[in-house]
Symmetry: C3
Subunit: 385 residues, 3 copies
């Protein structure tokens, strides 16, 4: 009997369920407020999606040739293997726009470029083995003639030293603004097993041979004129070409994968990433030095040092995909429900403090004590046991 | 006294708490439905973890040698510094599989490669200074003999021009499929102060010297045969070697850090990232041009241009780690609780609409109006004041 | 009339709202517990922000010169274009610290470096066309003298072969620890349209010319001494310089954008990313081989092979920004509310099980059955219909 009793309690515990006793109140003003707040909450809480970050692969290919005619190099045609560094076509590529070449450098000794710290009167001003942070070599301890009037400390270095005080103006390869770059971008959202590329389905080979990107007429053409990108970033190519800089090519793949796949298309935008503001401008622009090494006739290692100014283009792919998933839906739904209960409290407060006919409210409330599904609690209360 | 009254109101406000008046209903069908839905909700809402994205560092090292015998270069052994570009062993590395070399180029003038736009009859067909998008140099304005029968516009360029119409078949370095690459990958989840590498603890030096990755026998060996990866990506190495392509090496570090650290192991997968579909195939495969620069006997700058076809391997590390955290737990718990209240509503609706003995339900409901903890409201209601 | 009735039902449905019937219980102990748990929940659930991941662009510039004096190369000054690979100043840059040069290599035949597998007695021990995984070329099938006492298989390769058994000690370019690197980092949080760089507003040009990063005195100076970074990572530069390694330069941009922009500043940290633990140490440290190509006097392609040991610095930018947003606020608020309802249940349980005066509680409960806003349910129950 004890067990039977115990079992019945267990069953009651397991299969009984609780429901709240509720009041339904009829007041049009408060009721309207109640529905309005409910609507606002449900309208805001829509973030019912599971999300995933984009995984991306980029390859780039620049096209274009430039002819230059300088006193040092003479007539020279620059092609892609010469002005795109590195040549592999990765997602970050550098296009040469201005150069300061220093041909014929060998390991030897020569006077430093004159500056406040390198000028000297006698050997005692130079310290053997000393390396200046902004110097070009290691001092030998001698003070030698740099020109007829100036003496500087001698350095062991790749001589003759580069003199980069005068930057060619206009930029030697300023015509690079007419170059084009084809950007191939494959993305995937692994969580949703979704893959796509920026060469969209409707783009055919004929179109691609002739198109260049234009926000209005060709928004899906993956071939970009360098000058156009720089202009869209709000910069002047001819100015930027002088000292170089960094341009970001942003590809935004934010997609709602509950919609058909064809609505998931890349959006391109461009902006300058380095600082052109001259306030605290250390090393403005973008440049680096590289060298081509030779053996000269006497088998001595010789190099042509090139100070390369140019524009680095960084292709930056970003995006989040969202797709319906039961878990975040429950989380958001639950949160919304909980908020809705707050609405009841707000409405009660409005009712009790703002309404003039407070007494009538209490009286009406009594008359309609019904539970959630219309069963009158008052009827229950008066029911004979 | 006013203060005392005020204080007691405050205390009542602070230490009083509210509890709902509830009905417990005993109906096995509805009760079972109620418990079932509750169980489903709790089973789904388990995303109680705080998450962090992986931070990763990769280095790679390719090994292997190939002997080729061509008419232009003769017998040549290719080693890593020659066919891996760039040589540094970064997370994206390119392995040469096919080459079109053009030795002995110098800055000079020569006839363009014949095409629809470069063929000409007389000088008037060529415009001085013109650069064709797909051309190799800058036109001089002259129309010259390309061969006995064909005349093309002369260009200032690196001459002789490359003729890439015939791609070596089979691929010159097709044997690259036997090369191996060691991938060293260190990851961390900074939020959880968790670090790990893909050289797992139980892997010793002897094993690593001889193993190669195999999904079944050696799933944790970080040394991969190039051919094996391409096969796993569903491609044929000898076909892909002809024109090149991009293979993604995915390392998935998704981990549940509530489990012991040894369960957090990388999962490798491979897939082709570029498009081999020839529909809208601009620049199919993957190739780029680079040059080796020399000074010839007369100290004139000469270069060997190399059109390099090959496979770029992109190591793509991704993953999210989850770990118990009180905040998302509360968020999810709260949401689940709110959802549970919805269950009550569903059960009430089932009860009132579907049950045949509706009247009896109302009667029973009355008999058991008890609050959440068993105190009978009816008893309360009949209690003399 | 039917319609009027119908309409009134609709209106009642639309503008009626439900409110729970509630008990307020006065018990200081349980009340205090109730308020305490409520407070704890609200204190924990503060993650009311929308978040975005950082998008970053990095450029780096190394400065410094080193003089070395070796038997092979003589006196040689190393400058940035020689020891920084690649030279472009990307976010991952390699600084040479030790080299094994092998000058004058040409395509020819020579004996392999002696090892267990390459030593031989006669031609029959060598297989023509065979490539050893750790070998340097392709075997010709001949067994030749390596030294007076040792015979090894002959290989077709870039000869003479590199002998990397002896690593220069101390490291040839160990003085690289005094080099400095300027790191320029621009970040953005696209969702919040927020941009910033690591050259903070208050840093001027004069300061930047002289500062180097120091966690205490110059925490915002973006110029780092290589040796300082390695020390902060817990390593010894002179040891690490021997065989190389990878150092991570972490820039943490975690920001709360509800605070003013000036509080969003980068935090730098450094740690070694590769493994120095010698347990299962395949290819310890970090090295790679590259070559400089020449044509010798007889126009034969010659190269200087360089086995480069050094430190790769990976700049890793990470961070999340948070900003107030109504959606996550509602989600968290809702969840907190739902949790608060759990508190009621806990307090009820405490009340009913732990309190001594259980009977009195039930009696008191009856006396104070009031709804949430003070309307007594008992009064309602006794009200004449």
């Amino acid at each position: 009997m004890g067990c039977k009793n115990c079992c019945s309690i267990c069953l009651q515990c397991l299969f009984g369920y609780e429901t709240n006793v509720m009041l339904v109140i009829n007041n049009k003003g408060v009721g309207a407020l109640f529905r309005l707040i409910q609507f606002l909450i449900i309208a805001y809480v829509r973030a019912y999606q599971d999300t995933d970050s984009v995984i991306s692969s980029v390859s780039t290919k620049v096209k274009g040739n430039i002819l230059t005619n300088t006193s040092i190099e003479g007539v020279h045609v620059w092609d892609v293997p010469e002005y795109v560094i590195p040549p592999q076509g990765e997602k970050s590529f550098f296009v040469l726009t201005n150069v300061i070449p220093t041909p014929g450098q060998t390991q030897s000794k020569c006077p430093e470029i004159p500056s406040l710290v390198t000028k000297c009167e006698s050997d005692s001003d130079c310290i053997e083995g000393q390396t200046e942070v902004h110097g070009n070599g290691v001092q030998t301890g001698h003070c030698v003639q740099y020109s007829d009037t100036i003496k500087t400390c001698e350095v062991q270095a790749w001589c003759p030293l580069e003199n980069d005080t005068i930057i060619p103006k206009p930029a030697l390869l300023g015509a690079a603004e007419h170059f084009t770059v084809l950007i191939k971008n494959n993305i995937q959202y692994p969580k949703f097993n979704f893959r796509k590329r920026n060469l969209l389905h409707h783009i055919n080979s004929t179109y691609l041979k002739n198109c260049t990107f234009d926000r209005k007429t060709d928004p899906h053409c993956p071939i970009f004129r360098l000058g156009h990108m720089v202009t869209e970033a709000g910069e002047d190519f001819s100015v930027m070409a002088l000292k170089g800089g960094i341009i970001g090519i942003f590809i935004d793949w934010n997609c709602d994968l509950d919609f058909p796949e064809r609505f998931c298309i890349p959006k391109y935008s461009f902006s300058r990433l380095d600082n052109k503001n001259p306030e605290n401008n250390v090393a403005p622009g973008y440049n680096f030095r590289f060298a081509k090494y030779y053996k000269n006739n006497k088998s001595i290692e010789t190099r042509t040092l090139i100070k390369a100014f140019g524009i680095r283009f960084d292709v930056i792919v970003f995006g989040m995909a969202g797709k319906f998933n039961i878990v975040p839906t429950i989380v958001n739904l639950g949160a919304a429900l909980a908020c809705l209960s707050l609405v009841t409290a707000i409405c009660d407060w409005v009712m009790l403090t703002c309404m003039k006919d407070h007494d009538q409210y209490v009286r009406e409330e009594h008359d309609q004590i019904i539970n959630q599904f219309g069963t009158s609690v008052t009827r229950l209360a008066n029911h004979p046991n």
